[in-house]
């Protein structure tokens, strides 16, 4: 049912993603192991993450580095200093009944803001990123509303989370899902989070239809569910549009089993989190030196690189993705471009018929791939000092023998035959010997065959000129 309403006008969706920094060895504010999956309940706790009175949070510096990697990859602005805030609310899964988080209002500065991610033809704006601690986990007997008690496991309490909040820039559930998949690839590529792990990436959404009220949807457990939940909600809200009042501003809960959203609370029932600066953690200075180190140490994610190639070099999305897919190939591409080759030519060459050989040669790192030589080769092609066939022969030679252009260029006869009279002679010779002449008048395949015959006689002949001459001859 939901699939049929995937695209509808006037849909605005914003996402709030919670991404655990699973690559960290320890929690955000203590030295407990963060490897909490498949552990006995309350095994990975210490006085700090258990909220024992008198303990103090100690910031995991690596978590800051990892959050900044995401910030940089999403093109965010990073402030000179950032601070932690307490978000106060009572809930049994919070050992302190407040969460150490960040805040971007009333003097608070989150760790990053104002980024964007390219999604096919559009840009999705990222409003902010913040670093915070994960709560513990509640277990109920039976359902949440009927359970006679709840059990708490604090192993997850204090795990480092990065919250990523987007502007309401998605116009369909499909777009939102595509973004989430891309985001997951980015955090994985950055080496900060494994999105495949259960609960490592969680998502809340806000949806409005045709200027109606904003509805928050919580408890979406996986990316698969995101599309379902959003489509359900779009359908639900669109039934209100046109009616008096429209949809109500509220928070709804995605019920995975029944595949519906159910109302949790209306706007009036919203929590007042009484944010204020965490007095146990001083303001964090993000010095230019620190940021430089983070930049130097972070791997460039292929998704991000592909975006850069589109912007910087004008490659098509498809081509950019091809080049960026393999980091070593991408490095080679950038070297070739930096040495003066035209980016689109270099990209074509690298991702064309030699794609596999280039990848292998780049991976071997034994110097067989010579950027300077490919630049020269591409120049020879451009200036018609070599035909495509010759250039390919040379390039293949480079990759199989490891010899350079200077050496290979000598053994391959280069120089294009542009002399019209000698080409006319060759064309006439083929026409005499071939029985496909009649067919070539109407069949382009037969025509190309004849061109090929001419080139077999003289590989250095300029193919365009051959075709032109042949066309003139057989029309006559």
């Amino acid at each position: 049912m939901s699939k049929r309403v995937a695209v509808l006008d006037g849909v605005k969706i914003g996402l709030e993603i919670h991404c655990q920094l699973t690559a960290l060895k320890t929690k955000l504010f203590c030295s407990c192991s963060s490897d909490y999956r498949d552990k006995e309940p309350n095994e990975l706790v210490c006085p700090t993450c258990f909220g024992i009175p008198g303990t103090l949070p100690l910031l995991n510096e690596r978590a800051v580095e990892y959050a900044l990697r995401i910030a940089i990859a999403l093109g965010c602005e990073v402030p000179q200093r950032t601070s932690f805030y307490r978000k106060n609310y009572f809930y049994p899964d919070l050992p302190k009944n407040f969460q150490i988080s960040q805040y971007d209002k009333a003097g608070g500065v989150a760790i990053a803001s104002a980024g964007s991610v390219r999604l096919e033809e559009k840009r999705v704006r990222v409003r902010r990123l913040q670093l915070e601690e994960d709560p513990g986990k509640l277990t109920y007997e039976g359902t949440i509303d009927k359970s006679p008690y709840s059990l708490v496991d604090y192993n997850r309490a204090g795990i480092a989370l990065v919250e990523i909040v987007t502007e309401p820039d998605f116009e369909s559930a499909r777009e939102a899902k595509t973004f989430l998949e891309k985001l997951r690839a980015i955090v994985e590529g950055l080496g900060v989070s494994d999105g495949e792990l259960e609960g490592a990436m969680r998502c809340d959404a806000n949806v409005s239809v045709k200027g109606g009220a904003r509805v928050e949807i919580k408890n979406i457990s996986s990316f698969k569910e995101v599309e379902k939940a959003l489509n359900y909600e779009i359908l639900r809200q669109s039934t209100f549009s046109g009616t008096e009042g429209g949809a109500e501003a509220e928070t709804r809960h995605w019920d995975e089993r029944r595949s519906i959203t159910i109302s949790l609370r209306t706007k009036e029932g919203e929590q007042d989190y009484r944010y204020f600066p965490e007095p146990d953690l001083p303001t964090l200075e993000l010095s230019p030196e620190f940021l430089r180190r983070v930049r130097e140490e972070m791997p460039e994610v292929s998704e991000v690189k592909a975006e850069r190639y589109q912007g910087e070099f004008g490659l098509t999305p498809q081509m950019a993705k091809e080049v960026a897919r393999d980091a070593k190939v991408a490095d080679f591409f950038e070297e070739v471009v930096s040495k003066g080759a035209k980016a689109s030519d270099a990209a074509n060459w690298i991702t064309g018929e030699f794609r596999e050989e280039v990848r292998t040669a780049a991976a071997s790192g034994d110097g067989r791939l010579k950027a300077g030589d490919l630049v020269e080769l591409l120049k020879m092609l451009e200036s018609k000092e070599a035909t495509r066939g010759q250039a390919k022969e040379i390039f293949r030679g480079m990759m199989t023998t490891g010899k350079g252009l200077a050496e290979l260029g000598k053994s391959t006869r280069t120089g294009v035959v542009l002399d019209e009279s000698s080409i006319t002679g060759l064309v006439e010779q083929v026409l005499r010997e071939s029985d496909a002449v009649e067919k070539a008048k109407s069949d382009p395949k037969a025509f190309n065959y004849l061109v090929g015959q001419v080139l077999r006689l003289e590989p250095k002949a300029d193919a365009k000129l051959v075709a032109k001459t042949l066309a003139r001859k057989i029309k006559r």
């Binding site: 909220g51 009175p53 008198g54 009572f90 009944n97 009484r274 204020f276 007095p279 146990d280």
Partner: protein, 480 residues
Amino acid sequence: MAEISPSVAELVRRVASQEVSCEEKTIHRLARIPRIDRDIHAFLHLATDRATKKAREIDRRAKKGERLGRLAGVAIAVKDNICVSAMPATCGSKILEGFVPPYDATVIQRIEAEDGIVLGKTNMDEFAMGNTTQASAFGPTKNPWNLERVPGGSSGGSAAAVSAGMSTLALGTDTGGSVRCPASFCSVLGLKPTYGTVSRYGVIPYANSLEQVGQFARRVSDLALLYDVVSGHDPRDSTSVTSPKARKSSGGFKGKRVGIVTEFFGEGTKDGVRRKVLDASEKFREMGAKVEETHVESMEYALAAYYVIAMAEASSNLSRYDGVRYGASTEKGTADWNAAFAKTRTECFGPEVKRRILLGSYVLSAGYYEAYYLKAQSARGLLRRAFEKAFKSYDILLGPTMPVLPPRIGEKVTPLEDYMIDINTVPANLVGLPALSIPAGFVEGLPVGMQLMAPHFGEHLLFEAAQSYEDAVGVPGAKE
């Protein structure tokens, strides 16, 4: 008044040289305490086993000729909001009844590393909220100088323990005067160090951005020694400063500039207190200091700013006491956790704590945060600049620690009247300055304290001034 006890350095020498048995002395002390404390109620817990065991170990090491720590065999009482493993830490509250912290606070580790003997835990106003120690869920502590009077608070138990000679030294915490106030009311020395110089790791917080662990002693040299032992950078406390420790006293007070702050003698100041403190300040003049009256601007904002910030932080700090993980719980075995939290908190928090949680939650609420919390923080900024300006002209600023004499136990005052008497102590917490209360004599048989304030990390100036004063008037006696 009993014989004036020897200095800590002398006590340590006697233990190290085996002139006295540390174990015997400790056992004797532990036996004597209950007799004195029957009337005073300074202790909530006596660590008899731990203390004697430590004393025995010290004797053994002394016998072997091993080097002993700087506090070897010295008795130290600890306020009940500082965590000592295997000892209760109630914070004077029913809600932490039965809670035994699984770890030692940094200050305790440092004291024990110097062979100090932790005697036990002392009474306090519930969660350090108060200035009389009457707000303890376990009954009030009485002033050793007059059992009908309060000892001050919130570290009233620690001050009374030193004042009555039950303990040589003591630790308290000072969030808005909680060390200096009882020091003043009990006629002992009480230091609130510069913010960030003493680790807060293991200190159960009331208001994190304001408080420091403070020290009680009767002699200036003992106070300085205890401060030296417990202070210094602690990597477990992110607000702990890395700057070098306060310099040692250079001796002498000649030529120092002392400012008597007019604002510290406001309209609520009792005449007798005013006279005593001005008399005491004359001593500094006699010692060759340059003493004159001065003003500190923006002081009128201090009290309001202090209470707004302290209550805001407290409302959040005290959220964790819900009966789920530790401490008292009056509602068990229900899935309605919201009701269970409410019941436990309603039944186990005292009225003053509830008042501050409510007010603190209010000033942090949407729509009030800017009007109260942020405004209080900007007042704090004003006050910081005012003190920076004053310390350009003076080494020490001076005034009464408390504007009044110790009130009677059970005396009816409104919360506001009660808050008002903190007027001279809260500025040091708001600005993070070091401040010291020293005994300045008696009025109507009750102690009066004089507060000395110094610039950040100026503890050595305070010790220097207090030492000169002590040299002139003598070591104050204990009320035993």
